[in-house]
């Protein structure tokens, strides 16, 4: 098995957490510097962690989306490879055009740290432990987590089954209570909550373990 690439940009601060979580789940994580190019064929899957890449300056994820490694992430995704973006990673994927919509300022304008209940609204074989309608408890920590997209696109996402996670109790005003979406091809995923903060017995929830992915030949690049 090829290693799992964990991207890191200047300012990314959840990279160590995601690296540890990926390893704990039984994968072989490897660092990818966002400022350099990499060869997509060298990796099994790509993870884009949360944090404040480039300080969240200009717009969250805007500068990271325009850095060298993202060109290779795009090639990897276009070839059908599995990409998971968490929090800032989700924002970067939206800014890169690899996921539809955008994440903007929370309703109420405040950063929000909390545990939330998420409903799995679409089953994907790639996440075998997340069955339809399952409720999981995962922490959020963000100031710009409100998902927004134009109304026609929203309908399409819902109809095409691209919404995989919804908030049971919307903490930030996200359209359609959306906490996580996938692309049309269902190989690129983004979510605002942090599964890498909920997988050990002392972490107040172990539901982050359910986010372990299982790749099929479709996702191997």
């Amino acid at each position: 098995m090829k290693p799992i690439g964990v991207l890191t940009f200047p300012g990314t601060n959840c990279d160590e957490d995601v690296f540890k979580w990926a390893g704990h789940l039984g994968n072989e994580p490897k660092w990818i510097s966002g400022q350099d190019h990499f060869e997509p064929k060298d990796y099994e899957a790509l993870l884009i962690p949360g944090g404040f890449s480039y300080g969240d300056y200009l717009r969250c994820g805007a500068l990271a989306a325009r850095s060298p490694a993202m060109e290779d992430v795009r090639r990897f995704a276009q070839a059908g490879g599995f990409v998971l973006g968490i929090c800032n990673g989700f924002q970067i994927l939206c800014e890169s055009g690899l996921l539809p919509g955008a994440l903007v300022r929370n309703e109420g304008g405040l950063f929000r740290d909390d545990f939330v209940q998420l409903r799995v609204t679409n089953y994907f074989k790639i996440f075998p432990h997340l069955s339809d309608d399952k409720i999981v408890r995962i922490p959020i920590a963000h100031g710009e987590g409100r998902y927004t997209v134009d109304p026609q696109e929203l309908k399409k996402l819902q109809d095409e089954g691209q919404v995989w996670l919804s908030y049971a109790d919307n903490p930030n005003g996200s359209l359609g209570d959306i906490a996580g979406i996938s692309n049309e091809n269902k190989n690129v995923f983004g979510l605002m909550p942090h599964p890498e903060r909920a997988y050990q017995p002392w972490m107040d929830s172990e539901d982050g373990r359910f986010f372990q992915w299982k790749l099929s030949s479709k996702n191997i690049v």
């Binding site: 200047p10 601060n13 959840c14 160590e16 944090g51 404040f52 740290d113 909390d114 922490p139 920590a141």
Partner: protein, 688 residues
């Protein structure tokens, strides 16, 4: 001359001292050097004499005297921590003032080679939600949130006090805790006695905060607008890069020592390093990276631009250092050399020598005042009414804006009375804060005792052993004898308790001159204690599903003070009871009525009180009242036995049951959700 003294905030008595040192008046940039380094903020001239007493609390495995204090926890785990104030800048510009306060305290941690793993804040606001106070409250929290979250360090603990005496003078103290990685030696700020390069790293130098240190050492008058200094703007993104770069050169052993540029910027870091190392420093000020054009040497010396460090390295390591910093997009510029053959600091500007100054004049021999102190008999009558601790909703509004879990080390968050972070060994590090102005305002000694004991007990009842203390001594005008007495009383109380309970005072900060229009703040010696627990299975504050019988332990404050010498035994045996009996919950009650303090335990379980409690609910809780939920008869009996042995009352408070209400037998007294809604009113009053 008078105008000169006023501009540089040097007294005429101090001028005499300078004349005695130099044999002449200061010249050129020397005015700026004395102004900065002899300010209260940098020299601790009013407090140093007394702070030396803390050295008596140090013991093996603890270290003071550096940027931050160190405690060796064994198993190759060393913790570095410190608390610092940023009161004056936060009053003027709350967002940036609080943000740069966080930035500054973090630098004190990673300058020693430790990765910051937790932050905590200690805030004091006025209790009247005027427009000004509301904007201060919101701005300060936003600033801490902005900086802490972006830099990637969780703010897992905090205390917020509301008291009328802070209406014109708020307090913003920030504490940071760091961990030295296994095998990573502490980086000192003391140069080696050899030729080394002086290297400047981080942000370019601008005109931020020129004359800022002198400003922080002054009281506020009526006209606040005239105190429009250049406000320091911090950049947490840049600091994150700086953290990674500094830790990587420390790890690779490329540097000899490091000091952050904080108050009085380059001046304090260079002169303090030179003084410590007793080694000559040659600094070319024109080589300092500048953000603005046409900067004067004095401006460069006094600039308080954020996110800058000064380090020394061997010339063979410069390229290595530069490579590491370049990886993070940061500059590492050689600005000078050290010279072991002499001890003075030579400041140069385009080849011209501006001054040659012995650092001992500015640092070691800075004035150390023996300010007179005299206790004032307190006129305040203290009735036994509840201290108006605010509704927990105000505190929750704050910590919900702080990332609690970045770094995935957080075992207990700010929702609890003590935070706990997991260590590589699987043990947990506890952080608790203390200081209650409602007590310190009545009596400084008792207030200081409580400032130490409340966090000490908070850690103890969770099964953690307190290991070290940092303090931020916020006081009024030290030139007033009654204020000085409050300060001395606080230092002596911490020293006494630190020795008695084996909690070394390893670091701290003093903020004097918190006086506005002649009114001084109450003595506010803020305390941060770190403790060590052997497990991640720690009791929670609130009742849990495993809670059954609920017991109340009363440890009267007066009795604890009377029986000081027995404190080690009392607290050790209480801690042992906790680690052996593993109560599901343990809480040192807040200072409100019994009704209001007990309801906060009922978020997940109802507490059914014994009938006798009906009449007591509106009375204030006693200091100290501790509630444990006990899992079986044997535990209850051993707790009672502890009570018998130590002479403290242990009584059955009630039982836990499904639900979330406070009840007396079958009668509902208060539902947790209604208590939460009451919090809405407090939030609305503050415009939140």
């Amino acid at each position: 001359m008078e105008a000169q003294l006023k501009k540089y905030r040097i007294s005429s008595a101090e001028l005499d001292l300078i004349r005695a040192q130099l044999g002449r008046d200061p010249e050129g940039v020397e005015w700026a050097l004395y102004s900065a380094l002899w300010s209260e903020h940098c020299s601790y001239k009013s407090s140093r004499r007394h702070l030396k007493k803390f050295a008596g609390t140090l013991k093996a495995g603890s270290q003071g005297g550096e940027n931050a204090g160190l405690i060796d926890l064994g198993k190759d785990e060393k913790v570095i921590f410190k608390m610092e104030s940023h009161n004056h800048p936060s009053f003027i510009e709350p967002f940036h003032g609080a943000a740069t306060g966080v930035g500054g305290i973090l630098r004190d941690i990673f300058t020693m080679g430790a990765r910051p793993i937790a932050l905590a804040d200690f805030l004091c606001f006025g209790d009247q939600p005027t427009d000004k106070m509301k904007s201060l409250y919101k701005g300060v929290v936003k600033g801490i949130s902005h900086y802490g979250n972006c830099v990637g360090v969780p703010t897992t603990q905090g205390i917020t006090n509301f008291h009328p005496a802070y209406q014109k003078n708020i307090l913003v103290n920030a504490m940071a805790v760091g961990l030295l990685e296994k095998g990573q030696p502490m980086i000192s700020s003391k140069p080696l006695k050899k030729k080394s390069l002086i290297v400047y790293v981080g942000s370019k130098t601008g005109r931020d905060g020129v004359h800022g240190a002198a400003m922080a050492s002054e009281s506020f008058g009526q006209d606040l607008t005239s105190k429009k200094p250049n406000i320091q703007i911090g950049d947490p993104y840049f600091e994150k890069l700086l953290i990674e770069a500094c830790l990587s050169v420390a790890k690779e052993n490329l540097i000899e020592c490091m000091q952050d540029m904080g108050a009085a910027g380059l001046t304090s870091s260079s002169f303090e390093m030179a003084a410590q190392g007793q080694i000559g420093f040659d600094i070319n000020l024109d080589l300092v990276p500048q953000r603005e054009a046409d900067m004067e040497p004095e401006e460069i010396l006094l600039s308080e631009s954020q996110e800058r460090m000064l380090l020394l390295c061997d010339e063979t390591n410069l390229t290595g250092v530069q490579k590491h910093f370049a990886k993070y997009g940061l500059e590492a510029v050689k600005i000078g050399d050290t010279d072991p053959s002499r001890t003075d600091v030579k400041l140069m500007w385009h080849g011209k020598i501006l001054t040659r100054m012995e650092p001992k004049h500015l640092v070691d021999n800075a004035p150390m005042y023996d300010r007179p102190y005299e206790r004032k008999a307190n006129a305040v009558q203290s009735e036994k009414k509840p201290a108006p601790w605010p509704h927990p909703a105000l505190r929750e509004w704050i910590y919900r804006q702080y990332d609690q879990r970045v770094g995935t080390r957080t075992v207990r968050t700010a929702s609890q009375s003590s935070a706990f972070m997991i260590l590589p060994s699987g043990r947990t590090l506890g952080v608790a804060l203390g200081c209650d102005p409602w007590l310190t305002n009545e009596d400084a000694r008792t207030g200081a005792f409580d400032a130490f004991m409340r966090p000490f007990l908070n850690l103890t009842i969770k099964g953690a052993t307190p290991k070290g203390l940092t303090d931020c001594m916020n006081f009024g005008n030290p030139e007033k004898p009654f204020v000085m007495a409050q300060f001395v009383d606080s230092v002596e109380t911490f020293t006494e308790l630190g020795k008695l309970l084996s909690v070394p005072v390893v670091s701290g900060n003093v903020s004097f001159y918190n006086e506005t229009e002649g009114e001084n703040i109450p003595p506010t010696p803020a305390v941060g204690i770190i403790g060590l627990a052997e497990t991640t299975s720690l009791p929670f504050d609130e009742l849990k599903s495993a809670s059954k019988q609920v017991y109340l332990v009363k440890m009267p404050l007066e009795k604890l003070i009377e029986q000081k010498e027995n404190l080690p035994e009392i607290t050790d045996s209480l801690r042992n009871w906790v680690t052996e009996n593993k109560p599901a919950s343990a809480k040192l009650l807040s200072r409100r009525t019994w009704r209001e303090s007990l309801i906060s335990l009922c978020s997940e379980r109802s507490l059914i009180l014994e009938k006798s409690w009906e009449k007591q609910l509106d009375f204030p809780t006693d200091l100290y009242s501790i509630v444990f939920s006990v899992k079986d008869e044997a535990s209850a009996n051993s707790l009672k036995a502890w009570g018998q042995k130590t002479g403290f009352a242990v009584e059955l408070l009630g039982t836990a049951a499904p639900g979330s209400q406070l009840r007396v037998q079958t009668q509902d007294i208060l539902a947790f959700k209604d208590w939460r809604s009451a919090g809405r009113k407090s939030l609305e009053a503050w415009g939140l």
